[in-house]
Symmetry: C2
Subunit: 274 residues, 2 copies
């Protein structure tokens, strides 16, 4: 069990840490394409977790200065270790809750948030806080998945059911696993301007090298990570759960396919403050 201050549907196990790093390295090009910060700029990474995205940020913009915050001290410790191992010196870590952080107004040139809003009960409160600490004219970048975007073949009700279990568990923990589709309206309602959302889709099959492996390591591993919670919560019995997971693995085998969409939203803090 996690000793962390907030329920986190995926847990903070060693296996989950590996999964998060696999996810970041496997999807780095897809998700970080277009995200480069100028030399000397200061960037807040809000919700850095175990540092999976931090490594990419620090490496892609080596002359920018990052402040990476997370609510979990143990995740921060792992992130710090990871970034040190990689030899990056342009990241400062700080324990803070996005919804109640105490940075002065207009502290950062840019803000980056990835796979974080999906776990926050009120993302508008978080975005409001992030807008405050962002300098006028600066950008916010938000990246989230949307489990409703999963399309696969063979398509079975059991496979959909195990994904739905994660969606329900995440909702019970105060999050939203279908938040990708909401980024446009969330940024708009938070008062950001010049909003541009791009859908970033992955298509995996045995005809595309390494793609099916990535589905196993990133998506199916995430589903498998909530097996005990789903069963304990009465959302699935062990047999139907295992059938659903087996069906997901089947999509990575011969003739199978698996498709998933991430959403990347970029907005600007305009002159006009609400």
């Amino acid at each position: 069990m996690s000793k962390s201050p907030q329920p986190y549907v995926h847990g903070r196990s060693e296996r989950e840490t590996i999964r998060l790093h696999d996810q970041a390295s496997g999807l780095g090009f897809l998700l970080h394409e277009g995200t480069r910060y100028p030399p000397g700029s200061t960037v807040l990474e809000a919700g850095c977790g175990v540092g999976a995205q931090t490594i990419l940020l620090a490496g892609n913009s080596p002359q920018a200065q990052f402040v990476s915050i997370d609510i979990s001290p143990e995740s921060l410790a792992r992130a710090q270790e990871r970034v040190s191992e990689a030899g990056y010196t342009n990241v400062t870590f700080r324990q803070a809750d996005i919804c109640s952080m105490q940075f002065p107004s207009e502290t950062f040139d840019h803000v980056f948030v990835c796979f974080t809003l999906e776990h926050i009960p009120d993302p508008l409160v978080a975005l409001d806080n992030l807008r405050k600490v962002l300098r006028t004219g600066g950008t916010i970048t938000v990246i989230e998945g949307d489990h409703g975007s999963a399309i696969f073949y063979p398509d079975t009700p059991e496979a959909h059911r195990v994904i739905d279990c994660l969606v329900i568990l995440q909702r019970q923990a105060g999050g939203n696993a279908l938040i990708g589709r909401e980024l446009e309206h969330l940024l708009t309602e938070s008062g950001f301007v010049d909003i541009y959302v791009s859908a970033r889709q992955t298509y995996a099959s045995q005809n595309i090298p390494n793609s099916s492996e990535a589905v196993k390591k990133i998506f199916i591993a995430m589903i498998e990570g909530v097996r005990e919670q789903a069963i304990a919560g009465g959302l699935a019995d062990p047999e139907s759960w295992d059938r659903g997971v087996r069906d997901l693995y089947r999509t990575t085998e011969e003739n199978g396919m698996f498709c998933y969409t991430f959403f990347k939203a970029v907005g600007k803090k305009g002159l006009q403050v609400r």
Copy 2:
């Protein structure tokens, strides 16, 4: 009512013809990107309908020769008229059923099929026929949508329900509105080789010029086209139908978004025939 030889879920009305041309011109770049045929090559377009894709094919590969077939003589007449109006002389039209056409083996250098397999009860029979008339070493290109890929905000059960109605009606007519996810396995099972499927996604919102208009003209118009069938078939009552359609329109308004994925599969006829 249509006098055509086969049930076709979308009907063959004037409004549907306009919709199909809007679809082709609006999505032409997205779907035809990468499809160019060499001078002198002969290409079978299987299921040309009213010629919406034919115009793009003929224009993009002006020195290739196209033979465009369709099961419906009235659709063919419209296609022919359209292509003549556009001034293209590299298309021959012929009435034929993909599942029983009589071209000699190895007649065509390439085959192109768009929004057609989704309406055929046994797509493997169609693909088998298409493989026969394709020369060894030639390519097949198949483009299909997948209504299960529709992601939108605001997300309401009523909006999903009207989409589901079309999926059910299309299934009742022998088709499959979720066929996009199946292209990889269909081409594999038909014996094609070097298969590459690309997911081609559209993201529409008011922040992207013309995109919400396209959702209305292409997707919502298609849904609206089956209103009477859905109500007559007992799949929806008029009130819940109209609410679902209104909810879909809402996704094209302020803060809304609508996302849809097409799948484009290219395969080759290898030396080894099954």
